[in-house]
């Protein structure tokens, strides 16, 4: 159903849309990092995607580029959903913030920053959202040590299971 949106996107942005697919009925477009903000603005203003339902990070560790950010969009006026993905290199984990398009991206991006270490350029306030301030590292990265713990209090006995 949202195939029309993907076609529209390809017609408008051409080379910037690297790949589209429709696996399991989920219309998805992989776009270039540089044109991400333009794509999102176009989808909101001209295709009617009023809502950013979710924004999440993915760590594909052995692959390059290593990280991915996924935007789940929903249009209430047309009943469409579409997913936009963007790949991000490990050396430069920065992507444009979507807060200027959807205000709701604010907390999603903060969460994504503290769990994956992906920075969002132009975000008004990238403080940690869920983790405590003294937490070090990015716990949802695949290379975060599985058994690493960062207790805030001195423990009475070691954490063994």
């Amino acid at each position: 159903m949202s195939q029309a949106v993907l076609d529209q996107l390809k017609g408008r942005f051409g080379e910037a849309v690297l790949e589209t697919h429709n696996r399991f009925g989920n219309e998805t477009a992989l776009v270039k990092k540089e044109s991400l903000l333009a794509v999102l603005k176009f989808l909101k203003e001209e295709c009617g995607f009023e809502m950013l339902m979710d924004l999440c990070g993915v760590d594909h560790l052995p692959e390059t580029p290593r990280f991915e950010v996924v935007y789940h969009l929903k249009s209430f006026s047309r009943g469409y959903r579409v997913r936009i993905k963007v790949r991000i290199a490990e050396e430069d984990p920065v992507v444009d913030s979507a807060v200027s398009v959807w205000k709701g991206a604010n907390w999603y991006e903060r969460e994504c920053r503290e769990f994956y270490g992906i920075k969002f350029k132009g975000h008004p306030d990238l403080r940690p959202l869920l983790l405590y301030p003294e937490f070090e590292g990015y716990p949802l990265r695949k290379d975060y040590p599985h058994k690493k713990r960062q207790p805030r209090l001195p423990l009475l006995k070691p954490e063994t299971r």
Partner: protein, 159 residues
């Protein structure tokens, strides 16, 4: 019947310590520190069907300063651990702690960066209730065991 016979009707003899502990164990004021789904089982234990009031423990206090039984119900993660420690320290002596459910006792199936692997790493615990979540009967059983511990408390010899 010794002394009681000498005083006449309406008198019984007992030990001070036994009497204080007896009064204490049937009026446990509890502070529920509820963070997760085990809270549902706690509520069902509190309500009419299982009715914890039968054991004199229906009076929930929402300040730790007035409570003598701390119920830690649910997953405790590293972020909230200092809060739990502070709540425990604010309670007046004597105090007892129940670790309610698998998560509070061991971390449960959350073996990850965020979750404290059992509240006994930060505060002393008297009774552990296993289960995910525990049945209300198990909670009542834990209450009976806490009452036994209260009865054994040495009032006259401070810890």
């Amino acid at each position: 019947m010794g002394l009681e016979a000498a005083f006449g009707e309406g008198y019984i003899t007992s030990k001070v310590e036994f009497f204080i502990n007896w009064a204490r164990k049937y009026s446990l004021f509890q502070y529920p520190f509820i963070t997760a789904c085990c809270g549902m089982e706690y509520m069902s234990t509190m309500c009419a069907h299982y009715d914890i009031a039968r054991f004199g423990a229906e009076f929930t206090r929402f300040t730790p300063r007035q409570a003598d039984l701390l119920l830690v119900v649910g997953t405790i993660n590293h972020k909230v651990a200092p809060v739990l420690r502070k709540v425990y320290e604010q309670m007046t002596e004597p105090k007892w702690v129940v670790s309610f459910g698998a998560c509070a006792s061991t971390g449960g199936f959350y073996d990850n960066y965020a979750v404290l692997q059992g509240i006994d790493k930060i505060i002393p615990v008297d009774i552990y209730i296993p289960g995910c979540p525990p049945r209300p009967e198990m909670v009542l059983d834990a209450f009976l065991k806490i009452q036994d511990q209260v009865q054994k408390y040495r009032v006259l010899e401070q810890k």
